[in-house]
């Protein structure tokens, strides 16, 4: 009896504290978004674009078996608007024709490159540059497969020449002004900004021309559309909210701008990590705290990157299993940070929050589900109470999703038609029934795979490729 009461109260307080944290994040994100909207303008982009002293940025994009999308996306990266940048593509031992396609399209030849291995990686086979002056910003690093995206990214960082690097996936399409928008928080802050993130969205049903998004549309298929909503919520509500109090847990591997010096000193990405983005931020923050240096991690509320989301449940399963394994791995590797006052906000807010509400959530939800099944089976369930508790979390989840759709519409109206916005709102009502249970299941599976030491792949995703007009 005591056990049942304890469990009921525990679940209630757990969900109530989660709800309270979301409300707090909603307020925080509103403040940061309004502040960003008020004090940034397109004139800033022009000023920076025409500046003689803008700092250089290296765009680093690892590629593994990306033959379907590589050409369009490298073209897209080369047309970014910024006064001083280079594009470093790392071919991580692809087994398909990724490298051949790059060589043919961009007239690449091997060059003697003074490659310094500041971060340890799998051996680099060769470095290629284009004989066509149009592509003089492009560097291709061909290396042996390291098994993870982290290892490939590290090789790209080693080959890069500028003080900041933007890490992205080669299947991502970036907005032309991404670099102009993302570098600004670094330039404007007196405190050292070690990383900047921005919002990612699904490219699945968008219109793409010459490697540029010309019309943003919500994905037609349900799985990517659920993810579109999930991403907007994660970026605009969570990360923007946390950035107000400098507690950003991670800067996405799909799109993140980093201070190279700090990233290298922190040891770069962990080549064995499956949550390389959160791992890198943890290392960089730990480095800054250990060296008693002040730091900031910033987010901007703009969607700068469009990525091809898993189009079906099988591919989603692979992706989320890997992410979940990565999360558990992170807590194992950086266990000394958790609840450790030495690591300040990282140890007392960021890690505990991620541990309680991200890592434990799938397990608690699974236990809850099993309890309900047990109660139903033995006819002990109080249906009135069960429905009430369900509505409690369901109504709140829908409210939060609609709130982020509003944030999204306030920052920039990416969808041209209201009917497209409605399509996104519709999935907010369906998400708790269809998408969320899948995510919980994949999460549990990821933990299980990590604990049973089953090998996880590079994070490859079967791609359909983007239709370009």
């Amino acid at each position: 009896m005591f056990g049942e009461d304890f469990f009921e109260y525990f679940i209630f307080f757990y969900s109530t504290s989660l709800i309270a944290s979301y409300l707090m994040l909603a307020i925080f994100s509103m403040i940061t978004i309004i502040r960003y909207k008020n004090y940034n303008s397109n004139l800033d982009d022009e000023t920076l674009y025409n500046s003689d002293i803008a700092p250089g940025i290296s765009v680093v994009a690892p590629a593994y078996n990306e033959e379907k999308t590589i050409i369009t996306n490298v073209h897209s990266l080369l047309t970014l608007e910024y006064p001083l940048f280079e594009v470093v593509i790392v071919n991580d031992g692809s087994k398909d024709s990724t490298l051949e396609k790059l060589i043919n399209e961009f007239d690449l030849v091997e060059v003697p490159y003074a490659y310094i291995e500041r971060i340890k990686t799998q051996p680099v086979k060769k470095i290629l540059k284009s004989t066509n002056p149009l592509y003089d910003k492009l560097t291709v690093v061909d290396k042996e497969n390291g098994g993870t995206k982290a290892d490939a990214s590290n090789a790209g960082i080693n080959a890069s020449v500028f003080p900041y690097f933007l890490c992205t996936d080669v299947d991502c399409i970036l907005a032309r002004n991404t670099l102009l928008k993302m570098i600004k928080p670094i330039l404007i802050n007196k405190k050292k900004v070690i990383a900047v993130g921005a919002t990612l969205r699904m490219v699945n049903s968008c219109e793409v021309k010459d490697g540029e998004i010309v019309k943003v549309k919500p994905p037609k298929d349900f799985i990517p559309r659920f993810q579109e909503l999930e991403y907007i919520r994660a970026y605009l509500l969570s990360k923007m909210g946390w950035s107000l109090i400098n507690c950003v847990p991670n800067v996405s591997g799909g799109l993140g701008l980093f201070d190279k010096d700090i990233a290298v000193r922190a040891g770069g990405y962990d080549g064995k990590s499956h949550a390389e983005d959160m791992d890198l931020i943890t290392r960089m923050v730990s480095y800054m705290i250990n060296h008693r240096r002040k730091y900031k991690i910033e987010y901007i509320p703009l969607s700068c990157c469009w990525t091809e989301g898993p189009p079906d449940v099988n591919i989603l399963s692979r992706q989320r299993t890997r992410w979940a394994a990565g999360l558990l791995q992170l807590f194992v590797v950086h266990r000394k940070v958790l609840f450790n006052p030495k690591y300040k906000k990282m140890g007392l807010i960021v890690f505990p929050y991620a541990f309680l509400f991200e890592f434990l959530a799938p397990m608690i939800e699974l236990i809850g589900l099993l309890s309900i099944l047990y109660l139903i089976f033995f006819g002990k369930i109080n249906w009135d109470l069960a429905i009430l508790v369900f509505l409690y979390s369901y109504c709140f989840a829908v409210m939060i999703s609609i709130l982020v759709v509003i944030w999204d519409n306030i920052t920039f109206k990416y969808y041209q038609k209201f009917s497209e916005v409605l399509k996104l709102i519709m999935v907010a009502f369906l998400e708790p029934f269809i998408y969320h249970p899948l995510i919980v299941f994949f999460g549990i599976r990821g933990y299980f795979k990590f604990l049973s030491s089953k090998e996880l792949a590079w994070g490859t995703m079967t791609r359909k490729g983007v239709e370009t007009s």
Partner: protein, 375 residues
């Protein structure tokens, strides 16, 4: 029984339930009300947005056509005519319509291949000044800041005194923008705030300050930066001004910059060394060489870079000695880079390259590979 009585009854009934149920019910009611309100709000903002877009799409091409005619056409429009023609398109003049006119004018000013001397006639005819002045007087900080940016873009010098009001604002973004605007728009004392900059400059400050100094430079109105370099006690500002003097090739500042090579601050010394090279101040080359071996690595890199830019042909033996004694890869690379383009009868680059092997040899191969753009 009315709805109100029903709600009151529910309220009292819920009061008898367990606290968990009370919290859950309150939360559900709260979520439903907020969700419906947000949905209505979203519908309204989308509706207004669509209406604005439709209206703009309808009248913007007509405004563009009129402005192009005024700015680049053969007919000279009088202010009254501009006003009449514009109101014929948009109807009665309102703040929103003036804002639209400003946006179209700026679009034409900065993106049109043709240039005109008649921008001011549109500014005067549609009373942009009055509109912007009101915006400066009666709006919140962020709007004021964006208004100041419009003043800069329109180059409206007449509102200089208004700008000055905000140069000491408590709002730091507004204060910063007002000082930038003053630097561009003031005709009496544009550099006044250079003396008042306290603390470290951000990169963004440098980019903006340089932008406005560039505007003065293009009009041949840029003052000699030497006096601020000489007297500024703010090292961060000194570094920036030295950099600016180099970019604007202010040869007269070289003596002052040379003094700064003795500064205790490494950043000041580094920038001073680099700038002497940019100014081709070759008379200081022997001193730079003399100081090289006792300097920190950042300064050593700057000295080598500077000697490369001076390119006198007299520093071959120094470069060779510096290379052979260099321990860091960055310094070796910088010396190799300078020796590659160094003008001299003696081919230092090939000589050094011939003696190297392994990674050091790769550095030389890397530098001489034309396909590698960023060395």
């Amino acid at each position: 029984m009315g709805i109100l009585d029903f709600l009151i009854e529910i309220y009292y009934e819920i009061g008898t339930y367990a606290p968990i149920i009370q919290v859950a019910v309150a939360s559900i009611i709260f979520s439903v009300i907020i969700t419906i309100s947000m949905f209505i709000y979203l519908s309204v903002i989308r509706y207004k947005h669509q209406k604005n877009i439709n209206k703009k799409n309808q009248i913007r091409p007509q405004i563009e056509k009129l402005f192009k005619d005024i700015l680049f056409g053969d007919t000279i429009y009088h202010e009254d005519e501009i006003y009449t023609e514009y109101t014929k398109i948009v109807g009665k003049l309102s703040a929103r319509k003036i804002k639209l006119a400003i946006d179209v004018l700026l679009e034409l000013k900065f993106n049109s291949p043709e240039k005109s001397r008649r921008y001011q006639s549109i500014v005067d005819a549609l009373r942009f000044e009055t509109y912007l002045e009101k915006k400066l007087d009666f709006s919140r900080g962020s709007t004021k800041m964006k208004t100041l940016q419009k003043l800069q873009q329109l180059d409206l010098k007449s509102l200089d005194s208004k700008v000055l009001n905000y140069a000491y604002s408590k709002n730091k973004e507004l204060r910063r923008e007002a000082r930038y605007s003053h630097l561009q728009l003031s005709e009496n004392d544009p550099y006044r705030f250079l003396d008042e900059i306290k603390g470290e400059l951000t990169y963004w400050d440098e980019i903006n300050l340089l932008k406005f100094l560039k505007i003065h430079n293009e009009k041949n109105e840029l003052s000699n930066l030497g006096k601020w370099i000489n007297y500024s006690e703010n090292d961060s500002l000194t570094v920036f001004l030295i950099k600016a003097a180099g970019l604007f090739e202010q040869i007269d500042t070289k003596e002052i910059i040379n003094k700064k090579t003795k500064s205790k601050n490494i950043a000041v010394r580094t920038e001073a060394y680099k700038t002497l090279g940019k100014l081709k101040a070759s008379e200081f080359e022997p001193k730079l060489i003399e100081r090289f071996f006792s300097e920190k690595e950042e300064c050593q890199l700057a000295i080598v870079n500077s000697i490369g830019l001076m390119n006198t042909g007299n520093a071959v033996s120094f470069l060779k000695k510096a290379y052979l004694e260099a321990k860091s890869i960055s310094l070796k690379k910088e010396i190799a880079l300078v020796s590659f383009t160094y003008k001299s009868n003696y081919n230092l680059f090939e000589d050094l390259k011939a003696t190297q092997n392994g990674f050091d040899r790769t550095i030389f191969n890397h530098i001489e590979t034309q396909l590698i753009k960023f060395k």
